[in-house]
């Protein structure tokens, strides 16, 4: 196994040591100080640590470091550009989906991975994606509405640009 692992995080090439063995979430939080992904259970249950790895939403607390070489990771910190929010973030706010906010970064990245690959995702598909996430505050109603609103806004943005990408 290589001594170092090189991968791209939010558009920047990063190199981290392959040892000691640890997980993507440890690297993001403890080493790169990208603390937007949260540690809620550390065993892949709660979804607060979800980031996008090569286009797929993954629970970063169970992705071992050796799987990262050559990959591309997008975290919540890379979703907006520092000024304008991404439509998913905007929609979650508008729907009232943000309460304590601990689950929200993971949910936003889940929806991003889903709608980037499947903008026409059915309600059942969206439900299955959100079902990977725990939230103790909202009762999910506003999160559900926020997800539908996000899809709608992303769709209208694509339509304005003239068709699907």
């Amino acid at each position: 196994m290589a001594e170092y692992i090189a991968f791209t995080v939010n558009g920047t090439e990063r190199t981290v040591a392959a040892r000691p063995a640890r997980f993507l979430l440890d690297i993001l939080r403890d080493e790169l100080h990208l603390t937007g992904a949260k540690r809620g259970c550390d065993n892949g249950t709660c979804g607060t640590c979800v980031v996008v790895l090569d286009g797929r939403a993954v629970k970063s607390c169970i992705i071992p470091v050796e799987k990262l070489d050559g990959t591309t990771v997008l975290t919540i910190e890379g979703l907006s550009d520092g000024k304008m929010l991404h439509p998913i973030q905007q929609a979650l706010i508008e729907a009232g989906a943000v309460q304590c906010g601990f689950c929200i970064p993971g949910i936003a990245m889940e929806l991003y991975a889903l709608f980037e690959t499947e903008l026409d995702a059915t309600e059942d598909r969206i439900r299955r994606a959100l079902n990977r996430h725990l939230c103790r505050c909202t009762g999910y109603e506003a999160i559900w509405e926020g997800a539908l609103l996000a899809q709608q806004q992303m769709k209208s943005k694509v339509e304005k640009r003239g068709g699907h990408k």
């Binding site: 939080r29 309460q99 103790r136």
Partner: protein, 782 residues
């Protein structure tokens, strides 16, 4: 009254920070030279510690210090000083701190912690209050009765009873002589966990200048500050507690939970900050848990359904330490009447030490546990009387003129429970219930409820307002935002009170005991009521300051002046005016001479005439303000599996005044789902040895999106309160209170089975339905 900013769905001021991942929670904080702690938990829930061998742990990489409780004599607590930061001679529950490792990284700390060897001598384990109350039970605290307690508490030395509370009204138990019908039952609301997504944690830093700086996931920074100052013998002013963003609370981040333990550990490495964050397992076993309340209840009524007498015995397994649970027991006891008047009450609450993690606040604070009992018992009574359960309730509701168990008289301004009940009845009971079919049984159930804050006489909340040179306002309060939307409420109430638009009002985001005004603690659904009143009082003060300066400028009396958020002007001639931007730092004349005061103010507010209980009767002004409500549900039971599907859940509360419609719906919808979890599957499963079988999210299931009701109806009644700001009442906890009885009453409606405890899992329900059918077949054959 017309409102400009109250009653609108303003967007929460912290939403952007949270949705971009930039909001800073406890575990996101990194300090220079920070060390990390890992804590060893015992193998037994009740045992003497014979020996702790730390030699192997000390040799592990990265280890700075290994800490035990060998020399720990510190006792702390807010109600009963029975807590200890680290076990000394014995362990009393499975999540107790036994030893700790301080190391350079969390991984090193944890690896070394696993090398600590402890020899125990096991003792008998009690997980149920009544077992711990047996005459021959081993004492969990030999010192029970010797600990410092609040003067109102009554520990029984030589037993495991940490407190006995007795409330009587009228002729107490003798009142049952007047009853024509008596029903009784025993009910259990088992242990649960608030299980917020963010686990508990703290950073403690003993500094070279003999001060202590703390960051914690708590909603009680001022209590932590005083408690640490007391423990380490330094002035309260020398302890500084910061509260970063909180990832949910639901009760268990109140009181002192982990801070004294982390401080005890950090005190071994003065000069360096030490961080400890609970693993998910530790969050379940080593913080605070909820409920554990067994209720024996007897209700007497007349033939016409009028309630006569109530007898309640609350057996509360409060866990290994009673400091945080004792008020839950008391609240559970005096609120066990539910929203009904009883001329005669005999209510007893036993707060009992058990070998389980300490019970603390859980959204609802004792109310859902015992009102679950009364709401089930009323259904059973109505059946016995052959009366409508709605009519029985209506005869007895605590409406204006009635007197509750505590002796508090109800006024119209306490709210209208009848309207709440009507709203949910209309939503759920005015259409036909589907008939049983091949796949499902169908049922509908109802429950009414009430909740008081369960506060304390000295509780108050402060507010500091600073007007800025451009006419904007900064608001600084000590109330904890846990997700409930406190900051939005502050912004809206401040906007209304100052008549300054919300976009020009900034609510300070961080709590820091060094600069925030005092707040007792953000508990009991009290913030809107007390905090809101504090804002109005502070706003009135600052407006008075502006007017005093303007009176000098305009050369008139203060009482001739009015204020509209932009100007102070002469009432008789509004053209004579001064903009507030020229008044906030005093008024400056053209030649530079300046008069008047800085426009800032401090105020606070508490509940009026809150009092301790009377030592004889247990009565007193311990509620002061109540929110009444009603809840109902429509459900289906899948015949094949026993699974309960909630098709519709309806809630209505008399909140006095809705401050933010979007947020208040979010509170109700979320609270209802939390209690659906408790009713259908959440239960901390301790074995006979006091070990927790389900300390992970994949074992202790909290509701997911697939578990939500098909529909939630949420409606409000707005009878203005005489206390809260603009008539508002508290609501945060109330949505959890009526859920379990509404669902259990619906289960009876569907299949005719009476349940007295929760959770009702599909396996259990299916088995009971089958047993019932077999029973009926047997009877048919005979």
């Amino acid at each position: 009254m017309e409102f400009k900013y109250i009653g609108k769905s303003l967007t929460r001021p912290d939403a952007v920070g949270k949705v971009t991942g930039k909001a800073i929670f406890l575990d996101d904080i990194y300090l220079p030279e920070m060390l990390h702690a890992s804590v060893l938990r015992p193998e037994y829930a009740h045992a003497r510690i014979v020996e702790i061998d730390t030699r192997a742990a000390q040799r592990e990489p990265g280890v700075v210090k290994v800490v035990t409780g060998a020399d720990c004599d510190l006792r702390y607590g807010d109600n009963i000083k029975d807590l200890t930061p680290m076990a000394k001679d014995k362990v009393r529950h499975i999540g107790e701190p036994v030893a700790a490792v301080i190391a350079d990284t969390p991984q090193h700390a944890k690896a070394a912690m696993q090398k600590i060897e402890v020899t125990y001598q096991p003792l008998p384990v009690y997980t149920d209050a009544r077992d711990a109350m047996a005459d021959d039970a081993v004492l969990i605290h030999e010192q029970n009765g010797e600990y410092w307690t609040l003067p109102t508490l009554n520990p029984i030395a030589g037993t495991n009873i940490a407190n006995y509370y007795h409330l009587t009204k009228g002729r107490a138990e003798a009142g049952f002589e007047e009853a024509d019908v008596i029903v009784e039952g025993e009910f259990l609301y088992p242990f649960g966990s608030c299980a917020a997504l963010e686990p508990h944690g703290a950073i403690v830093w003993f500094k070279e200048d003999n001060t202590i700086e703390v960051w914690s996931t708590s909603i009680c920074p001022f209590i932590i500050r005083e408690d640490l100052a007391h423990a380490y013998g330094i002035p309260v002013a020398d302890v500084r507690v910061h509260i970063p963003e909180l990832g949910g609370c639901f009760g268990y981040k109140s009181d002192i939970t982990v801070e004294q333990t982390v401080a005890y550990i950090a005190n071994f490495v003065p000069g360096r900050p030490v961080k400890w964050v609970a693993s998910r397992q530790e969050d379940f076993t080593s913080t605070l848990i909820g409920h554990g309340i067994r209720t024996r209840m007897k209700l007497g009524a007349r033939h016409d359904g009028t309630f006569v007498a109530l007898k309640t015995k609350v057996y509360h397994a409060t866990g290994a330490y009673a400091d945080t649970g004792v008020n839950v027991t008391i609240g559970a006891t005096h609120n066990s009447t539910g929203p009904y008047e009883f001329p005669h009450c005999d209510l007893e609450g036993y707060c009992v030490y058990t070998n389980t993690p300490p019970v603390g606040a859980f959204r609802g604070y004792g109310h859902q546990e015992t009102q679950f009992a009364i709401e089930r018992l009323i259904e059973i009574l109505a059946r016995k009387l052959g009366a409508s359960p709605f009519e029985v309730r209506e005869k007895n509701y605590l409406t204006a003129g009635k007197v509750n168990a505590l002796g508090e008289r109800m006024w119209e301004s306490n709210g209208d429970i009848i309207q709440c009940a009507e709203k949910v009845k209309r939503a759920v009971f005015t259409h036909q219930k589907p008939k049983e079919d091949q796949a499902y049984y169908y049922g509908r159930g109802f429950a009414a409820l009430m909740k008081s804050p369960k506060g304390a006489p000295f509780s108050t909340k402060g507010c500091y307002i600073k007007l800025n040179i451009d006419g904007s306002a900064s608001i600084n309060m000590g109330g904890a935002e846990v997700g409930q939307g406190l900051r939005t409420v502050v912004q809206q109430i401040a906007a209304e009170a100052l008549q300054i638009p919300p976009e020009k009002i900034r609510v300070y985001p961080e709590i820091d005991t060094q600069y925030c005004p005092y707040e007792w603690q953000t508990i009991g659904s009290m913030f809107t009521i007390q905090g809101g009143r504090a804002i109005i009082r502070a706003a009135n003060k600052v407006i008075r300051t502006l007017k005093q300066t303007a009176a000098q400028v305009l050369r008139c009396d203060v009482d001739m002046l009015d204020y509209d958020g932009e100007h102070v002007y002469l009432r008789s001639d509004p053209a004579v005016r001064v903009p507030i931007t020229r008044l906030v730092r005093g008024y400056m004349y053209e030649n530079g001479m300046t008069i008047g005061e800085l426009a800032h103010s401090v105020s606070d507010a508490r509940l009026p005439r809150y009092s301790d209980p009377d030592p004889e009767t247990g009565q007193g002004n311990m509620g002061v303000t109540y929110t009444f409500g009603a809840q109902a549900c429509e459900l289906r039971i899948e015949k094949k599996t026993g699974k309960i599907i909630i098709d519709h859940f309806a809630s209505s509360f008399d909140v006095g005044k809705v401050i933010n419609p979007q947020q208040i719906r979010g509170q109700v919808v979320g609270g209802v789902l939390m209690a659906i979890g408790a009713t259908l599957y959440e239960k901390l499963d301790f074995d006979a040895e006091g070990r927790l079988r389900n300390p992970q999210y994949f074992q202790y299931h909290i509701p997911t999106l697939k578990d939500i009701p098909g529909k939630q109806t949420v409606e409000f009644v707005e009878t203005p309160s005489a206390i809260g700001p603009f008539g508002a009442r508290g609501l945060g906890e109330h949505p959890v209170i009526g859920v379990a009885p509404a669902i259990l009453n619906a289960i009876y409606d569907a299949v005719g089975i009476d349940y007295y405890d929760i959770p009702i899992t599909p396996e259990r329900l299916k088995q009971d339905i089958e047993a019932q059918a077999a029973d009926a077949a047997d009877k048919g054959a005979a």
